[in-house]
Symmetry: C2
Subunit: 294 residues, 2 copies
Amino acid sequence: MLLRVFKNSLESVVVMLRSQKEKAIEFRKMHQSGDILVLPNAWDVPSARIFEQAGFPAIGTSSAAIAISLGYPDGQKITRDEMLQVVERIAKSVSVPVTADMEAGYGESATTVADTAKRVIAAGAIGLNIEDSTKRPDHPLFDVEAQVRKIAEIRKIGDRSDVPLVINARTDVLILGQADKSSRLREAIDRGNAYNNAGADCFFPVGAIDSQTISEITRQVPCPINILATNGVPSVPELKRLGVRRVSVGSGPARATFGLVRKIAHELRESGTYVNLLNGAPTLAEANSLVRPS
Amino acid sequence: MLLRVFKNSLESVVVMLRSQKEKAIEFRKMHQSGDILVLPNAWDVPSARIFEQAGFPAIGTSSAAIAISLGYPDGQKITRDEMLQVVERIAKSVSVPVTADMEAGYGESATTVADTAKRVIAAGAIGLNIEDSTKRPDHPLFDVEAQVRKIAEIRKIGDRSDVPLVINARTDVLILGQADKSSRLREAIDRGNAYNNAGADCFFPVGAIDSQTISEITRQVPCPINILATNGVPSVPELKRLGVRRVSVGSGPARATFGLVRKIAHELRESGTYVNLLNGAPTLAEANSLVRPS
């Protein structure tokens, strides 16, 4: 009896791991098809479920949106545990692959960052974002070598575990670099190549906005490129033409909801009416159906 | 030295309690002025902060919105601990009084419900909603006597503690009652009187939509009446004319944001454009400034 229980648990663990492994493999393939992967970023269960129901084949998290929703400003002020708790909740709530935005890895050493990668797998995610900003204004970017060591360690974690983690290496050099625009672009391209050589599957140059910058990067960095859709960025079909393989939206959807809450608040205070409150809102029954019974 | 540390901690605890006590007193007074109290319902830190910045003098929580945001359907499926954790996070993030929606009190006995009330105070809130629905379809409402015992126990907790809890007694008889409409209204009024006699500060008849029902209740229940602003409910100025003292919005704002996320998702999938994503969204810097550094 006890043996059978043990065998059953073991089997379900194996099934769970295989399924997570399969998700990682599927997710990597989504970058390699001829199409462009549009990856919406969730910050809680309902946002993740809405994205899944809308038909997205995979979901990212937004570290900024998760941090802010829990009361922390963006920039690794939230603890790794709290961030991973939300990642786990989101990964459990959907059946599509989930990739976790883990900021700069919640530690400076390659060992700590590797541990973060292990914990991302344990939380049920199949990929992660790792960025090269230090969160220190006096020295805003990690040196390429230090960042490369971290990416290589994460690659090892993915290779040794049963889940072949998809690594999205983000550079903040375009927004935080000290040099002029063309030198920053040169450095971003160099970092993209270095990160890819270290084992990154995808390169994420935040701050690449205009078509020329974007196509320069897609031509000169051989791995799939992730562009952040924000003000001034070309539409998804145009990004596809520029050779972009993955588009994400960061904290955009969460911030859009903050804008709506502000509108609702002002209308309630000023005219005491409910237009913004009621317009387009699902019923409570529909909202309940977004989340599965526990 | 140790004594001084002890004295200082004691003083800061006293200051904290006094301030919470003052908030409870202020919040009770908001029901007794000639004006109507509009109480928006938050479910996370940014929604609470946006409501505070918009000038609302107090904030409620929405148990449905909190539960759904954590992946539970509405109806006391979430644990009391998880609900209180969010209440505490919200109460800590704003300086206005916060009242907590505690569903049916997370237990059936008066003792358990009283314990819930103690924990609401410990979480930093100064009032609570307590409803009479059982969450059991075969017997949807608690008997008046049982509900009255719970309200009386909560009243004792408020009176014995330093924080004079503001009790909002909710009845679901208008939406869950078995009888015809006029008998349900009669029963709602009877329950309102019984709950008020047991120590409730405010009565909350969910499902009171039309002006006639609302004014019948405000005329026949002597304590302040809370109306839920939803489809078909008169605007705030009209509710004021009907004698209503408090308006809340429940899970409405959260559900409105779900509607917006759905729109953003469909636009991204279909045209690959960012109109709904960018329109009216605060910048990341503005979103960061919503939350205080920890």
